[in-house]
Symmetry: C2
Subunit: 449 residues, 2 copies
């Protein structure tokens, strides 16, 4: 299989086949991997998706459903299927994927689906549904490979082969005692390499990374990527083995957290779906804009206060917007660098202090450089030296404030336990607007009138 990118032709071929007879469609679908069909679904209507899911073998259909973007709502597709077909597909799903999808439905619909399943599957999924979505418990799969530490090499290998029948892939083998307490891990390689007479307890690595079920998913992602692990076991508070989280789930978490960061920093609610409709977008963004309007009233009240100054030096109104705008952009730069840095690593007090100091210096230099340009402009264009001095000072001052607030507000939020990305450009530009106007107009009314 070559690296794959869906293009228009693929979508047209599928759409055409949907119009024709079932066998043509079936034959065409065989050319695609389940995850490719899941991507194709984004360009197809709900009806077409349902038809395709009903045609595919249950095993492939369940893979497609588990790979569908949450934004095109696999749970709604599942809901619409005939109960028998639905059970067939859900039973093919990994427990964690089944749980993720079913959890999006109202409770009564969840129960309807679960009561049609076989008892063991239903109980696994019911159990997983009790964990918060963004914790290790909500992320984990309860299907794990585990062997008792008392087994011999031969017994362990038989056990692993037996358990792995139902799993697509596994990366580490968990070693437990008679009470299902996790006591360590062992790799398949080490078992194979060992002598035939060996017991698992002699091979076990008991210096390993694990997480508790209530650990936040961001913490899980950090651990897995810090220790380069392909999977992490999940335990309860008394070390009973509950499940495992694999790197592919962590990659999804990272993408999700990164989307949230980029949205929040831009003043969009973190739960806006990227491909959502306009109603969701208005709901997610309007509150932020109204907050921004409130802060804009604050900034404009500064301007109103200085109206006499402006009416005497009208040319100030052109410079006002430059200084406020530049401050906003410089603050956004400092904010982005700081938020991203905090989200990748925790900073010590000393590092935090040096970050603010750095942004102060950057603001001073960038402010003076841009201040000089605008000073020369005022000198040449408005032939007014004092005006030049005023705007130079206001530009420099405002970019210093931009640097300090852009760095210190997210650092402060992190320190008090609030997500630093909430310090969006909307909040931060209030400071640069208000201070920019205050500086420019205050200096102007002192020095120019």
């Amino acid at each position: 299989m070559q690296s794959f990118e869906l293009n228009k032709t693929d979508i047209q071929r599928i759409k055409q086949a949907l119009e024709e007879d079932e066998n043509v469609l079936k034959a065409l679908l065989k050319e695609y991997h389940a995850s490719e069909i899941a991507i194709l679904f984004e360009s197809l209507s709900e009806e077409s998706r349902e038809r395709i899911i009903n045609i595919l073998p249950a095993e492939i259909a369940s893979e497609v459903i588990s790979e569908m973007d949450a934004e095109i709502h696999p749970e709604k597709l599942l809901e619409k299927l005939h109960p028998e077909r639905r059970s067939e597909i859900v039973e093919e799903l990994d427990y964690d994927d089944a749980t993720d999808i079913i959890s999006q439905l109202p409770e009564e619909r969840q129960n309807e689906i679960l009561q049609d399943l076989d008892a063991e599957d239903a109980s696994h999924i019911r159990n997983l549904l009790t964990y918060e979505e963004d914790t290790a418990g909500g992320l984990m799969n309860t299907q794990v490979i585990k062997v008792n530490s008392s087994l011999t090499k031969k017994e362990a290998l038989e056990e692993i082969i037996r358990q792995s029948e139902e799993m697509e892939e596994f990366y580490t083998i968990n070693v437990v005692d008679n009470y299902n307490h996790l006591i360590g891990i062992v790799s398949l390689k080490d078992i194979i390499k060992s002598k035939n007479t060996v017991h698992i307890r002699e091979l076990v690595n008991d210096d390993f990374v694990f997480v508790k079920a209530h650990t936040d998913q961001e913490e899980v992602a950090k651990l897995l990527s810090q220790y380069n692990l392909s999977s992490i076991p999940v335990v309860d508070d008394t070390m009973h083995l509950l499940g495992r989280i694999t790197f592919d789930d962590v990659i999804d978490v990272l993408e999700e957290e990164n989307t949230e960061d980029i949205l929040k920093i831009s003043g969009v609610s973190e739960d806006e779906e990227l491909s959502g409709n306009w109603k969701e977008a208005v709901k997610s963004r309007l509150p932020w804009l109204v907050i921004n309007l409130g802060t804009a009233f604050l900034a404009s009240s500064v301007i109103r206060h200085f109206e006499p100054t402006i009416s005497r030096v009208v040319v100030l109104s052109g410079y006002m917007t430059m200084i406020a705008g530049m401050g906003g952009n410089a603050a956004t730069q400092a904010l982005a660098v700081t938020v991203r840095r905090i989200s990748l690593n925790d900073l010590t007090d000393n590092q935090a202090y040096r970050t603010v100091l750095k942004e102060f210096t950057v603001g001073l230099i960038n402010g003076a450089a841009n201040g000089l340009i605008i000073f020369l402009f005022a000198l040449i264009y408005d032939s007014n030296l004092m005006l030049g001095v005023v705007i130079f000072l206001a530009m420099t001052g405002n970019l210093v404030i931009a640097g300090i607030t852009g760095a210190s507000i997210p650092l402060f939020l992190k320190r008090v336990g609030i997500d630093p990305a909430i310090a969006s450009s909307i909040i931060i530009t209030t400071f640069t607007d208000v201070f920019g106007f205050l500086l420019l107009l205050g200096l102007a009314s002192r020095l120019l009138l």
Copy 2:
């Protein structure tokens, strides 16, 4: 090992131990995992890092160096070590990690390091140094597990155990023909489960994902995450097996690309190091601010053009900044959602068209809602109905423009092959500034004078 977060105490303990005798330090370091020491390094001086690297066993030292953040320059640390010690450490590194670090040094220093290594290691690294850093070739490790398809189960297992001696972990076994052509993959599990008489060629899965050496790293990351693979084999143009890329490298790529996105969208050069000093920050941000200043002159020339209007209705200068500022924020919202969406998925023409239409609608509604608030304010506070109408229309119009430009500019850039994140808030707010002022002041000079 419990989930780990470095705190002040750890750093203080290490700093204290650095002052005391070597044995105290050695004993203390034993408590930490290599990746933890790498994080500790961020709070230590270069001299302290060098001392610790020299004390640690070569195996651990090399792990620490490979886990060090690129921003604290492992290559400089390596450069400073005694040549013998350095070779010892480099030889313990995975080839891809060694290449990443050495590639940061000037060519003559690279050669000095390479000529001290044993011939095989040096040739592997020299080979890897020829690939571009951000391609599959630049990312891959040349240490792979591979077996010839003609081997029997027993021969293959022996071969795998032999090859895996030098590797920490492996996830898939590559199957090659007599000419090192990659013909498929097989899992260790499937080999173990098979009968003793079986040949590898009977087990091989030939429907697998692979990448060419020159494939862009972003494409590699998309494939690995789309197909949930723990590793991807890398081949040359004639299918010779060159190496493999593992999920942990892909996680690093994703974090790197996400950092670049968030920086670019905020008007910061993508190569600014998050923990860099103020000189680097000024170099990275000043050009963008100067561009912004240029566009601000454009916006302020609109204001200058309408100076007579402003001097007759001075209260307009307060509303000007509100309408421009709100437009900038609404544009940033639309931009963030669109850029993030494009970076996760490619959009069809139809999806792109609907995205712009959606942002138009969102702009219209959010504009009218905020316009209404500001209209009421003008009515009550300035007792001027016509002024209220003017600012209502300007607010609505500017937020529509914000939505359209925020969505269409990144979509256009993507279509012509430019990174859409370059459409930073700096570029986009030029539109909302200029149009905001034009709308407000143009309407005001028609309707209010």
